[in-house]
Symmetry: C2
Subunit: 364 residues, 2 copies
């Protein structure tokens, strides 16, 4: 790969860094951001790292009206020896391109994007928090910024990367949540955009989340939009069930997002010789397993929480208490292994972790 020319304009001032003991997810942002512009016929250009600042967008920009936007999320960790580690960032760039394709948006150069991301992180390396369970959350996203009210793909885009220091998802360690099975609202359906990481999927989910919270539940369990029988996702995470020793997760079906943590959990379970199955799983099957005492563990997987154990499932008023409402052994083992590999505290037999050399000069 040829080295991408990235113009760098450093900020004259530096923000005060937030207290690492009280970091909130996605609230504070670093001093700089990466931007590249796309124009039809000219491709991606003007790759630059500039001070973090408001975007200036025409009010008629397509992103506001017709939702052409996709994003990714990943984390950088700073290990005890000062090195910076990224978890499978190539997978994020691959998925970003799959999302872009679904939304009729121009693909990015995956290697160039990774290089831009690397360079931005190295500039902002002092923003990576070092307390246990803290990290630097990375949000690459692409928005359509042509000023045009016709319903058609934009001819102009911006690819942007912003960084946010984040704390532990679990304030008091890994913590089981209560989940409401959603019967009214639908997140996505085959033929729609559920398998792309695009804004509309998240907008569609807010109402159900609001209703669930009013009843004291943390998240909703999404069912398929066609038969309203089969499990799809939990909140904005993938979901796993351990039933009678076997781990089952819904198969990729066109409406489920193909999570990178999901993929890693499957690979880790197979590495451990634990039986796993990617297939359709219905609420009836889960209820039957529960009644037989075989519903051993339930957990969500995602970048933000890594592993999120489920302590209760409420399906139309029928409450299933999973593993006495406590974190299961497998959930715990997966969480510890994944997060320790991510942070470099455990050997990485999978080759998942990318280590950044903090030699900025070499990259500039």
């Amino acid at each position: 790969m040829t080295r991408l020319p990235i113009e760098i304009k450093l900020s004259d001032t530096r923000k005060e860094k937030p207290n690492p003991n009280s970091l909130i997810f996605g609230r504070s942002f670093t001093d700089h951001m990466f931007i590249a512009d796309y124009e039809e016929g000219k491709g991606w250009r003007r790759h630059r790292i500039v001070p973090y600042a408001p975007l200036q967008l025409d009010p008629a920009s397509i992103v506001f009206h017709y939702g052409q936007t996709v994003f990714e999320g990943l984390k950088a960790y700073r290990t005890e020896d000062g090195t910076i580690k990224l978890f499978r960032p190539q997978e994020n760039m691959k998925r970003l391109n799959r999302s872009l394709e679904r939304l009729c948006m121009p693909k990015i150069d995956e290697e160039a994007a990774l290089q831009a991301l690397t360079q931005l992180i190295l500039i902002e390396k002092d923003w990576i928090p070092t307390l246990p369970d803290t990290s630097l959350y990375i949000r690459p996203f692409v928005i359509a910024n042509e000023a045009f009210l016709g319903v058609a793909p934009s001819k102009k885009y911006q690819f942007i990367i912003i960084l946010s220091p984040v704390g532990s998802y679990y304030k008091e360690g890994i913590y089981p949540v209560k989940i409401l099975v959603e019967n009214e609202f639908v997140r996505a359906v085959k033929g729609g955009t559920g398998n792309a990481k695009t804004a509309g999927n998240y907008a569609a989910g807010l109402k159900a989340q609001e209703v669930a919270e009013q009843s004291g539940y943390s998240q909703v369990l999404w069912l398929d939009g066609i038969e309203r029988k089969y499990v799809e996702e939990v909140g904005s995470m993938n979901i796993f069930f351990k039933i009678n020793g076997e781990v089952i997760t819904p198969a990729i079906n066109g409406s489920i997002l193909e999570g990178i943590t999901r993929k890693s959990v499957l690979e880790m379970l197979r590495h451990w010789n634990i039986p796993v199955s990617e297939r359709k799983i219905s609420m009836d099957e889960i209820r039957n397993a529960y009644e037989k005492g075989q519903l051993e563990e339930v957990f969500g997987t995602g970048t933000a929480a890594v592993i999120s154990p489920v302590g209760e499932l409420n399906w139309d008023g029928y409450k299933m208490i999973v593993n006495n409402g406590e974190t299961g052994q497998l959930s715990k083992r997966l969480y510890e292994n994944l997060s320790q590999i991510q942070k470099g505290q455990m050997e990485d037999p999978f080759g998942w972790v990318m280590e950044l050399k903090s030699d900025l000069a070499r990259l500039a």
Copy 2:
């Protein structure tokens, strides 16, 4: 209603107006726009008309990542005697509130919004083109602008109205289009956001539109996402079929947008004592009617085109040529009546048209 205080800051410079003979939909915008800000706990405030200019938004604004945004579209006409007419604008404001509710966004005051819209149009009245079949397109929209990467409803919003002078949708009069029945992609499903006017629905439709255009078709006919049997919409319009003297349109079902032109067409047909039916209609039924020679007319309805006759439907390679590929009598009659009522060239027995007094002082 109390008169809303709107702060007005007029632009020091005025743009050159586009040639009224070659107006393109949604490409040029007037000198000013309306903006109001919302903040949780403070409500809507800072209602203002300001020079049309880029919006300044934090890159972490929720609209870019989680798609909290809704919009409306309507038109202002300038009639021969110089008065300005709006078509059922109250309906747009009602629907805007229904969309806002679905997306967990704060409602607007419908009367205040209408007043803001009126005032903006009066300031921009010289931008309303007067050639036949031209109008001023009005785009009210609301975006979430809190800088936060958590998946939750924003605590901050902007309500914005922009205006665009537009030409005739049909360059050479009303013109029948070729439509491809869509079997792979799905626009929306019950429980999703299909009945809200929100960005994600339009983003989801772009791919199918791209594929249809590659095969020489103008738009796609959307089928339901569950059985893939029943007709939903055409492109971003509602759809009507005239079969054996009866006019049929898909009933509002939770995934179809409740169009204001759709509603007006139904009211006009009932006023004319033409049999109408709002119900499920399958592709099988349409094919059967076609084979019996009873598929008399097909047309789409929407603000941009008013009535858009369909000359051909292609369902998996089976081509149905409607009314010899020509505009049907009923389509023509509806188009003429609706557009003449909108422009004040025909009496309005329905009370649909709102007339603006161009006495700016009275409103300021």
